[in-house]
Subunit: 432 residues, 2 copies
């Protein structure tokens, strides 16, 4: 069965492309054209039966990904399902299962059965968890990727661009190699004095991906882990190789996106987005944050959301969320909510800034509701209706007056009646 890329090149519009076109307020022909050129990917493994396909590309709405999955030290499968539900509830477009402990295959199978959104993985985690860090061989790589593909995983992060010669560049840095996959591979290459097996056996990986239409997410094993390491020789050496791998994916009919940083000062984000676009021939750029200051642990959802807005404004197609616990520990459910919301906001604000079709409609509608004190409609249109309502209820509870009807009142506790500009403005409008 051909991949979406192969269908598109043949001029065929698939049902997945039609679904994406509907969601994006675009024509199916536009989507087919973008998929054919590799500018849009639609991760949809032929075995992920209940998937609702989603398109990822610079000209589509900015997508956000939420990472879930347990570590060897934290969380149980049940908790991860609750996190999945939380991520979906608040608007994640894809989820990645980054489990590195427990029965990884079993958790993933259950996750795929529940998830209607694309599910991604990082196969090297399962390889190391099951076979050990010394067994990242051709055999374990192809076995695990084939098993995951057969199970229905829609996209996989493969750190194939981290070549042996780049490792010393990465280790020169203040924080070294902070990508988990990147560090595992650097360690493996160093111990075995060999080239990166994901790079060496890339064509065989592509064969499996093409068979199931698994989208490859070309991982940035050398993404910078602090501002001091941003935009350096290590990062850009790997990016050049990722550009080469994008071409090889496309030649093999495999959909590909490219992963990006990381920790980047705000003034370097635009340059980073443009560089990827050029070097990777406009393959969708899937970035982590970026984090724009290193010194706000506990608030990294917010820090990375700020960078995410800039990234998406300047061309990133998907943003991987960051939670408040980044750099500190594994997120819990409330961290997942905060992370998803920060990135949902960043993605939406970027879509407005880029003038994507209909992006501002919801903003205009909530502003109309605001102008007539229709609180219920404001809650309905809010990106998080529960939280908006809870904030207003809390403010009323803490106020000294008795709001007879919180929902009908033509002002809030912020200014009170006499100082309410919206109330005054509505009155004045009748006088002009």
């Amino acid at each position: 069965m051909p991949t979406q890329l192969q269908y598109a090149r043949k001029g065929e519009i698939t049902s997945a492309m039609k679904t994406v076109a509907g969601a994006e307020k675009r024509t199916a022909e536009f989507i087919r054209d973008q998929v054919a050129s590799g500018k849009v990917v639609i991760p949809c493994n032929v075995n992920h039966k209940n998937l609702v396909p989603t398109g990822i590309g610079r000209q589509l709405y900015t997508k956000i990904n939420a990472n879930i999955g347990n570590s060897p030290t934290s969380s149980c499968p049940h908790d991860e399902f609750v996190k999945l539900e939380t991520a979906v509830k608040y608007g994640a477009d894809t989820v990645m299962d980054l489990s590195t402990g427990g029965d990884i295959g079993l958790i993933r199978g259950a996750l795929l059965a529940k998830a209607t959104l694309p599910v991604g993985t990082v196969p090297v985690y399962e390889i190391v968890a099951r076979f050990g860090a010394r067994q990242i061989s051709r055999e374990t790589i192809l076995q695990v990727i084939a098993e995951q593909a057969e199970q229905g995983v829609d996209y996989m992060t493969i750190h194939a661009g981290l070549k042996k010669e780049y490792v010393p560049l990465g280790l020169k840095r203040k924080l070294g190699i902070v990508s988990r996959g990147g560090a595992l591979l650097a360690d493996y290459m160093t111990e075995n004095r060999c080239e990166n097996p994901f790079y060496v056996f890339f064509d065989e990986i592509l064969d499996i991906c093409r068979q199931y239409d698994v989208t490859l997410s070309l991982g940035d094993g050398l993404r910078p882990g602090c501002l001091a390491d941003a935009s350096d020789a290590a990062q850009f050496a790997e990016l050049d190789t990722l550009g080469e791998l994008v071409s090889r994916c496309r030649e093999h009919g495999v959909q590909a996106m490219v992963e990006g940083p990381g920790h980047i000062p705000a003034d370097e984000i635009q340059m980073n987005m443009e560089r990827e676009r050029k070097i990777c021939d406009d393959a969708p750029f899937y970035i982590l944050g970026p984090v724009v200051t290193d010194c706000a642990p506990g608030y990294d959802h917010l820090v990375a959301g700020m960078g995410g807005l800039l990234g998406a404004m300047y061309g990133a197609a998907m943003l991987c969320y960051v939670t408040p616990k980044e750099h500190l520990g594994l997120p819990n459910c409330d961290d997942v909510r905060r992370g998803v919301m920060a990135f949902k906001i960043a993605a939406h604000a970027a879509d407005i800034a880029c003038g994507k079709p209909g992006a501002r409609e919801r903003d205009d509608a909530i502003s109309d509701a605001r102008s007539v004190f229709d609180w219920e409609r404001q809650f309905l249109l809010a990106l998080d209706p529960e939280r908006a309502r809870a904030c207003r209820e809390e403010a009323i509870r803490e106020s000294r007056v008795n709001f007879s009807s919180m929902h009908g009142s033509p002002y809030c506790t912020m200014c009170g009646k006499d100082f309410c500009s919206v109330r005054l403005s509505a009155k004045l409008k009748t006088q002009y």
Copy 2:
């Protein structure tokens, strides 16, 4: 006694300028030069005795302001003092007392006695609260401004740029006039068919300000209240008048900054910053947010923090914080913390992006601590040490393993030991 502006023009370096120079890692001569040109203001009322002067200007560190003050419906004086302490604790550079209810003068006096940072007010609030919305006359304006100046208020927001002819432009909008001061003045001008008294009696206001060295913050009564209203005729008509008023302030030896929006799509922020700089001859731009999407009530600290980063990157000198309760109610203490932190982060990230002297030092130091798992030092260098520590403690509590020593452990619950890239990277560094 001359104002800072007058001293600077005479070539005299004041102790306030020396204090600012020290805080900004600049020479006193640079600060004097910037004050003389009006590009930097140092709000320091001669009667605010315990003030530690702060400089505000595009080339200095980005400052953030926290609004406190009770409304007629909410909060008591004690709560407002706790909010002041919270704002200071988390890093606010100035506070504005926006009280519109209770004994406003008494609260403000107590606030000024406690505050070592510059305190701002919006005199029209006290005028309306004390005398009523129909009494915004020459007499009440000069009386209240003189009283507040005598009390030691460092800067005052005056909506003198909202001329009568602009009111219809403002009312044409989706959300009309959302500035409280702007709406009160529009209402007054409409009722009395007169010009804005703050504009008419501006020279007399300047005389009082010069006497006490009160910095004028030229308010934007026509700031947009939603994305649909951004960058419109009303906003820019008023901005032109603010430019004229900046000149009049400078001619009179009065320090002036200019207030700005508001709700602005992310792609229009740079243009807005550049326009103010040109029209107001680089007078420090003090912006509110800006909010980059209208539909995230409950998260507006984050929404406006994102806009604030862009604003400061492109030249805003001070950011007025926005709390999660914006559009919903009066903030409580925890909202103040969240608002201040979001803007502290935005300001810091922008200072790094602009390459201001030493702005990245703290980031480099925390990254060094991160690379060697020095958790205590990471907490110490975090913008909010308590929260960083609490996040790590929570993650450990929720994990399934017993961390024998949370502070000494060379990994966190995020990845666990075997998958810890920082641990692996440190090991690899010894092998190359």
